[in-house]
Amino acid sequence: MTSEKAIKADAVIIGAGPVGLFAIFQLGLLDIKCHVVDILDKPGGQCTELYPEKPIYDIPGFPEISGQELSDNLMQQAAPFSPVFHFGNMLESVDRRADGRFLLQTDRGVFFDTRVIVIAAGGGSFQPKRPPYRGIEGYEGHSVFYAVRQMEKFRDKKILIAGGGDSALDWALNLQPIAKKISLLHRREEFRANMDSVGKMRALVETGKLDFHIGQLKSLNGDGKYLSSVTALGRDGADIEIDCDTLLPFFGLTMKLGPIAGWGLNLNQNLVYVDTEKFQTSEAGIFAIGDINSYPGKLKLILSGFHEAALMAQAAFRLLHPDERLVFQYTTSSSKLQKKLGVL
């Protein structure tokens, strides 16, 4: 890969959670334009993925705000700085070049050439939960899938969908018309999903177009790569053998540190060590803010991440413009800042 194909950036932020979004604002005030990469398909990170409707009570100035509202507000606050988002991407590799800049690559083949990297990845990247069955790794990519990227791939398959949430039901409904056979396995009669989807699913069951089994995954049967059936444990304790060649488990997402673990940074228990002046990692030019960092006295609060973003931005400016004087200004009084914010 040559760096010509790469997107040239001042700063690349990893993670579009609240702290990553506020970093756009703080860096923006100092004229540092940001590209933001997130594995999810929307901004907000944990706030919108895990608890969009749950109220948060410890954001200064907001006695009560939901995860979704906080994320929406931060997007609005960052908007004047025209950040470029790259959703559905996970940063895989980082290479420091001889001139001190970094070449970054995502799993979907997007490249960045940047001087500053801000890791605001919270608990890591969200990845599908992998059911704990021996040998499941061998089936992954051949007959076990955690996402549907191309529906055609599932045409004429004997599909078993496991889980009872919206993803499980949506894909059961969407894949039913093209599948040879479709079954749904869920641990109980009730579903925590859109009522409309549940109704449609039950109608398919009634007309014999979808097999619904109450139970939980027990074991995978096949040659280690291709499934021939799945054994489930029924509510009554008896085994149920489900004929299928494809398994789609939908048990939500979990956070994994992911490729960052291999970047040679000073880590402890999946946290990245930083100093408390610049919030810089052991690698100059790579900063870490929010839940992902660690330092003496660290508190995993959104407000701590906001503070860290502000100090990080000062340090990033000095790194990008070593010869320029940084004049500290307030948004309440500085006409320069107000122009950048588009309010003057």
Binding site: L50, G123, P132, E190, F191, F251, K300
Partner: protein
């Protein structure tokens, strides 16, 4: 102060002291009990603090409410004595509680 015993899937157990008002998940985190990441921080939103309540304790600990029951759909190997430990509040009544950690939950 109430003592809580955590039993790992391999059978290894550890007894630690909790404080009334904490959740069992918080006690686990504070004492570095492996296998309970509690990713969402106790918001009943991730199902990574799933435990099996020990024999004789299910009545005292009580049943999962609807939101917790919904969240358990995202856990593996759910049994009748399954609970999310972030939803179990430690009280003096629970002194001696044992909970078992599932094989895998993330």
């Amino acid at each position: 102060m109430p003592k809580i015993t955590f039993i790992e899937p391999g059978g290894k157990s550890r007894t630690v002291t909790g404080q009334s008002g904490q959740t069992v998940m918080e006690v686990a985190l504070k004492n570095d009990i492996p296998g309970i990441p509690g990713e969402c921080g106790g918001a009943c939103s991730c199902a990574t603090c799933h435990v099996y309540v020990g024999k004789g304790w299910t009545d005292k600990v009580g049943q999962a409410d609807e939101a917790e029951e919904d969240m358990l759909d995202f856990a593996f190997g759910v049994r009748d004595n399954s609970r999310l430990s972030c939803q179990i509040r430690v009280t003096d009544e629970l002194d001696g509680l044992t909970v078992q950690i599932p094989e895998q939950q993330f």
